[in-house]
């Protein structure tokens, strides 16, 4: 069996983003998706700190400290892009104006519950940022994550054990093993890594999966 690489997962997510979509890519793994969007198609990347039409990283030496993304890395603005303040930016996120957001996750439950902001460990410094706003506000919430933890436990679970980010908010899950839809009937497999059987995927996943 050949697991999808991080770039292949990103590529797979990018394929599901249609022209004209307003999209927020969360920090971490989801930022890779930007590298796989076809520049010939108009897709509007939103950055919560106040950008629409966010472009790629600037050439070395062209960085501008006033032009950064949500991960605080230097970016550019595409022709036609816009700047706005935080009130407007989060109205875009919370008011249902974004078509898609792509988030990383610690766990996703079979009903679409998402846990991605806090491990709950007593000495952890909790930090939430815009995750809860995106979880409830974007029309579709795509999660992009490794299928299993480093110790081999499924990150797709019956019920999240980590503190929740949002309830029933995830629409689709992209992992290194599969693409899975969250549906009212349960988790439905859309695609699997090459050489992986549904039975094998089922064994590696914490909850029952519906076939393709």
């Amino acid at each position: 069996m050949k697991r999808f690489t991080r770039d292949e997962i990103a590529q797979r997510v990018a394929r599901d983003i249609p022209e004209g979509a307003y999209v927020n890519l969360g920090i971490g793994l989801p930022t890779l998706v930007a590298n796989h969007l076809d520049p010939a198609r108009d897709i509007f990347l939103h950055s919560e700190n106040g950008l629409l039409g966010m472009g790629p990283a600037p050439a070395p030496g062209e960085e501008d400290e006033d032009l950064i993304n949500a991960g605080k890395q230097p970016v550019t603005l595409l022709t036609g892009g816009a700047y706005f303040h935080h009130g407007d930016s989060f109205a875009m996120m919370r008011g249902g104006h974004l078509d898609i957001c792509v988030l990383g996750a610690f766990q996703v439950a079979q009903n679409g519950d998402l846990a991605n902001w806090h491990t709950g460990a007593p000495d952890a410094i909790p930090a939430v940022g815009g995750a809860m706003d995106l979880a409830v506000g974007a029309r579709s919430v795509f999660v992009m994550m490794e299928h299993q933890t480093k110790t081999g436990e499924s990150k797709i679970v019956e019920q999240c054990t980590y503190p929740l980010t949002g309830i029933g908010c995830v629409s689709r899950i992209y992992t290194d093993l599969a693409v899975i839809d969250v549906t009212p009937q349960g988790l439905r497999v859309r695609e699997m890594a090459e050489g992986l059987s549904l039975d094998a995927l089922q064994t590696l996943t914490g909850v029952a999966l519906l076939p393709i």
Binding site: N49, G50, D66, I68, L77, H85, R94, V128, D133
Partner: protein
């Protein structure tokens, strides 16, 4: 004649008292009013409640203010950073209080204060730890959490250009919290890269009208 331009940072910060609630603009370092924060450290006010999206970086700016023991409480959405060691240490030692707020609630609570809203229902955070103990309501089949406005005594923000009436324009993504914090504070102090004559800012593009700004101070270009 109304002239909100201050001649010095010290003059701009006059009157910030111990125990004040102070909003500080910026997202990471973009829009962070670094010179005003340094001047606030020199000014000496302590027991402050600080409202900022983050909890300082490295050992400068907001991190230096916290390291100096001036901050009693921080209201923010994302304290954890690669280089937030000052906050991390104070938090783990129980020497600073943290009110963690989803970022959109932070923005909307600030905006609400500026707009005279007594509270608002939002879907953000429903069913999570960050809504624990808060009033909830079902509206048209959706679950909402009641959130309260955040008022401040002072707001320290960074803009690009300002005039003597306090009209401001910003630069790129450094705008972030500036416009809404300016609305939510009794006294908003804006550091600008350039003070321009009245009339030079195109009224069509002024982002923060002067009614929300009480003091403007120009920072020498070299330090920008």
């Amino acid at each position: 004649m109304v002239d909100k331009i201050c001649d010095s940072l010290a003059e701009a910060l006059a009157g910030i008292h111990d125990g004040a609630t102070v909003m500080i603009g910026g997202f990471g370092n973009a829009g962070l009013p670094a010179e005003l924060i340094d001047a606030l450290i020199a000014q000496g006010a302590t027991g402050l409640t600080i409202v900022n999206n983050n909890a300082g970086n490295g050992d400068i700016g907001l991190a230096a203010l916290m390291a100096a023991g001036r901050v009693r409480k921080l209201i923010c959405s994302f304290p954890r950073q690669i280089d937030s060691h000052v906050f991390d240490g104070l938090y783990r030692a129980g020497k600073i209080e943290l009110e963690l707020t989803p970022q959109g609630n932070l923005a909307e609570r600030i905006r609400a204060a500026g707009a005279g809203i007594g509270g608002f229902f939002t879907r953000t955070g429903y069913g999570t730890l960050l809504a624990a103990g808060k009033e909830t309501r079902e509206i048209n089949g959706q679950h909402y959490v009641l959130e309260s406005p955040i008022h401040a005594d002072f707001a320290l923000i960074k803009a690009h250009k300002g005039d003597r009436w306090g009209n401001l324009v910003y630069r790129k993504a450094a705008r972030n919290f500036g416009p809404i914090m300016a609305m939510a504070a009794n006294c908003t102090i804006a550091q600008v890269s350039q003070v321009v004559p009245l009339g030079e800012l195109d009224p069509e593009v002024i982002v923060t009208p002067g009614i929300f700004v009480q003091r403007v101070v120009q920072i020498a270009k070299a330090s920008q």
